[in-house]
Point group: C3
Chain length 145, copies 3
Amino acid sequence: MTRAITEADTSTYLEIQHFYSRQMSYLDSGDVTRWAETFTEDGVFAANAHPEPQRGRAVIERKSREMADSLAAQGIQRRHWLGMLHVDDAGDGTYLAHTYALILATPAGGQAEVRLSCTCDDVLVKTGGRWLVRHRQVYRDDLPK
Amino acid sequence: MTRAITEADTSTYLEIQHFYSRQMSYLDSGDVTRWAETFTEDGVFAANAHPEPQRGRAVIERKSREMADSLAAQGIQRRHWLGMLHVDDAGDGTYLAHTYALILATPAGGQAEVRLSCTCDDVLVKTGGRWLVRHRQVYRDDLPK
Amino acid sequence: MTRAITEADTSTYLEIQHFYSRQMSYLDSGDVTRWAETFTEDGVFAANAHPEPQRGRAVIERKSREMADSLAAQGIQRRHWLGMLHVDDAGDGTYLAHTYALILATPAGGQAEVRLSCTCDDVLVKTGGRWLVRHRQVYRDDLPK
């Protein structure tokens, strides 16, 4: 049964924060190989903005590279902020991490602006001391859930 | 005398972060009953935008329901981000938690935007292992303090 | 050699979060003396928006006072959010703390808005139980790095 993590799990909570900060810095800096490696080999990235989920590191890396190349060509720097984290222990070795996600975009020489407000629901596993995303579901607030 | 919490209080700091993430997810998802239950029975929610404070869970729940219903009718999803937390130990069993609050709004099919920037000063108590807000004071940055 | 901090360093990670929250509240409330004191005596504040770095507490305080006075005269409340923190141990007694920085501005009676999206790379030291910034490098996302 899923349960809210307790005081004793503060290090888990903190490790997940730290993991997310590194993970999103890979994406935003265009290091899509390391970004893809933050998912399990068979990790899934689903979003209500995508017609179908991205399945597996290879697909996640390819799709992210297309996006990174497109943003670079437009001279746009994106920043993904994950915050308002709360974590539940799924009781089967995985953790359910829930965050708000805010995506900002700044064009070269231009004005920073909020692009999207989302929520992000992750199934996380810890393997060999490293946290990995097994399943990510992003919901953009502007689109039907 | 109020004092900044120390290293030894890292779990307190973290528990408060976690508490806030859950608390605001209740509000933003329209679960105003659980939102109200994050205040003490006689909890007070004051804001420089309100003519008078909301006093007690019943009033907090009723006011929040009115707001939630209004936002739902307009198809607007709000997100409350609390961040930049710092905590002082009031020395009387309560903790003074200070955050910045950012409120975003996304209309269905529309563009996410920043609605308000605020600060939030809470008096928190821990009762039966649960954190609760005894007194919240929100200051919108656009209004006189 | 620089290395990512580990689980055992969760209190370090948390102390740095807490430090940043207090530090930025000093700046945003116009308490520029305490703001300057969060840097080492010879601390450096560099930014790709500045023609040259601010060197030493006295200069940092003076420059911050000019900015605080200008904002106050315009009736603008700024809020600096630091988030998405990740920390590396430099192995020489210093820590390398990397954050995203979001700057919001609210004019009196007006609309809050995002002003700038940045990254912030700090060299931090802990002296006498207090964290201090020895070197800060801010990169605005709209300007060449």
